[in-house]
């Protein structure tokens, strides 16, 4: 019985990729903080992760932007911009921590595999 690496790593590589993609979305929100009419967006994490796992190893298919949804602002603004810096900063920071978490999980899995291969 061989080791299936994709199976062994589980959901974590997908989650890691999704976290990296979400970083981009949030960075874009922060970058457009003062752009009139810009609508803040965020990824639907659960839906996108499910889609990625159903699609198999095709990777992230966000080109249609289906799972990038618009954020509902707490306070509307005159210029139509829906970026709320505090919200975005909190989300960005949380997302960076989640990225590190996923990364740690992948690292642990890889260490486990290395041990199994080494026959320890």
């Amino acid at each position: 019985m061989g080791i299936n690496f994709v199976k062994a790593l589980g959901v974590h590589p997908d989650a890691l990729e999704l976290r990296a993609e979400r970083t981009k979305v949030l960075a874009s929100n922060i970058a457009n903080e003062s752009t009139p009419g810009y609508k803040a967006r965020d990824l639907d994490f659960a839906a996108t992760l499910k889609q990625m796992q159903d699609d198999g190893d095709n990777g992230l298919a966000l080109d249609d932007g289906v799972n990038a949804k618009y954020r509902i602002p707490y306070h509307p603004t005159r210029d139509g911009n829906t970026v709320e810096l505090g919200v975005e900063q909190a989300a960005f920071s949380q997302n960076a921590s989640d990225f590190q978490t996923s990364l740690t999980f992948v690292g642990m899995k890889i260490k486990g595999l290395a041990k199994a291969i080494g026959g320890q």
């Binding site: 990729e17 990296a20 993609e21 970083t23 981009k24 979305v25 960075a27 874009s28 922060i30 970058a31 457009n32 903080e33 003062s34 752009t35 009139p36 009419g37 810009y38 967006r41 990824l43 966000l62 080109d63 249609d64 932007g65 990038a68 810096l85 900063q89 960005f92 920071s93 960076a96 990225f99 590190q100 990364l103 992948v106 690292g107 890889i110 260490k111 290395a114």
Partner: protein, 137 residues
């Protein structure tokens, strides 16, 4: 992984915010630049930001671009200063329509936004570095 895109997005925002800081500096520096006609008087300058939507690539991230720098159309300040060498026949001097308080708040907002994007870049850099260390040790 889209780290290069993120760096570009944060970089574009930093560039845009520095244009904004540039206009603020120019407006504040010229706040007292008098002139004898309305046309010659300095008008406050404001940058116009726009999201760069590149639909051919993907929809999740967009950079910022400075579309234009426009001159404010607010009325100029007319001051009666007959002994000013720039005064017209009626003794009127025109001062720019710069609002120093608004400019100061704009400056704070711009520098905070700049700092936020620097922070984004630092976080992305540390994420990337820890990704490179994956499987070590």
């Amino acid at each position: 992984m889209s780290f290069r895109d993120i760096t570009q997005i944060a970089g574009s925002a930093m560039a845009a915010q520095s244009v904004r800081l540039n206009t603020v500096a120019s407006n504040l520096a010229n706040a007292q630049s008098a002139a004898s006609t309305e046309a010659q008087t300095y008008h406050a300058r404001k940058p116009v930001f726009a999201a760069m939507v590149d639909s051919s690539r993907d929809l999740t991230g967009s950079r910022v671009q400075v579309l234009d720098v426009v001159e404010s159309q607010e009325p100029l300040r007319k001051v009666y200063e007959p002994d000013n060498p720039l005064a017209n026949e009626e003794g009127i001097v025109f001062y720019p329509n710069v609002n120093p308080v608004a400019e100061m708040t704009d400056m704070m907002s711009a520098s905070r936004a700049f700092e936020t994007n620097v922070e984004v870049m630092q976080r992305v850099k540390s994420m990337q570095q820890s990704l490179l260390k994956l499987g070590e040790g």
